[in-house]
């Protein structure tokens, strides 16, 4: 299985999913078609979790700006992580700038909704 690397654009974040278990999603997320954009990532993850995975999976998310459908997509993404949490040691770092209230709130929402996931709020 190969790593997934998508370069950031004006409307989309950079996505680096490494088979060694280090994931990072960094940038802005307001694509024209959010679900289409993230489809390769979701497919990759499903494949990743069905394979032998490394001991630990670390997800670093640093989303500066996101639209509503991206917010929905992130919930779906966390659903997928939650489904796999028992067999995989998953840790999520939600990284945000201290000034970025929206990003902080989103992080808190995720923690609230996904009690069984390890989500760390990390200020920059």
């Amino acid at each position: 299985m190969e790593n997934l690397n998508l370069i950031a654009t004006k409307y989309t974040p950079s996505i680096d999913l490494n088979t060694n278990g280090i994931f990072s999603i960094v940038g802005k997320s307001y694509p024209e078609n959010t679900f289409e954009f993230y489809e390769p990532m979701m497919q990759w993850l499903k494949k990743y979790f069905s394979n032998n995975t490394p001991e630990k999976t670390s997800v670093n998310m640093e989303i500066i700006y996101f639209n509503s459908s991206s917010s929905k997509l992130f919930f779906d993404f966390f659903d997928l992580l939650e489904e796999n949490r028992e067999e995989h040691n998953i840790e999520i770092n939600w990284i945000y700038d201290a000034d970025n209230e929206s990003s902080e709130e989103a992080g808190q929402d995720f923690i609230e909704d996904f009690e069984d996931l390890t989500i760390n709020l990390v200020t920059k």
Partner: protein
Amino acid sequence: MNNKLIDELEALKKDFTVTTDHFIKSIKRQDKIMARSDQRQQREYDELQRKFDEVANLTKEIEDTQKEVVFTLGAIGESRSKETGNHVKRVAQYSKLFALYYGLPEEEAEKLKQASPMHDIGKIAIPDAILNKPGRLDAEERKIMDTHADLGYEMFKGSTRPLLQCAAIVANEHHEKWDGTGYPNQTKGEDTHIYGRITAIADVFDALGSHRVYKEAWDDERIFKLFKEERAKHFDPTLVDIFFEHLDEFLNIRDSLKDIDYT
């Protein structure tokens, strides 16, 4: 005894619960996303509005500063040549009025209004001995004096700013004449830029009607006579026509910007 139908119904019930739970969770989540999104949009829009105001204020600040600097520059040019402060203001107003009646758009007329006071800016590079000489200039001195048109042009020609480009044209062409006997390039008719033609007539009208250390103010009849004579000679005939057609407006500007004390 197991009733198979009951088992099936129980299983369906369980599936139904799972499915409805899933839907409820999904709907709640959707509601939350919407609520957050509304809050966010409100914040973003407020922030945008704040930034727009800031940009508008800064833009105004820049424009005001530019106007002031340009006006001050013009005033420096005039003070060197013993003109009065209101002269540049009046020339500015006349120029805009000419521009509007000539048919230039408001924005361009306003630009010319701001640039026309700089027509004599080249005079800051003319030696005092010539600039302030009490009597008539001899041929050699006149030649040096006349370089102020080119000197002014040189000062602004490198700028990409529309206002300063306009000032460059005004400085360079305000001594050209309709019949091609002006300076520095002896351009004729509409080969002289409209900015130059307008500033020429505005400047002369004001200079003639103003008291100077070396001359009394001309009375209006004498000025009008000259304008009629110089129609299509010194001045663009269209502009002379505009002048007479809207004479009251030009005189109003003159009255509202009188030189208070010139003793």
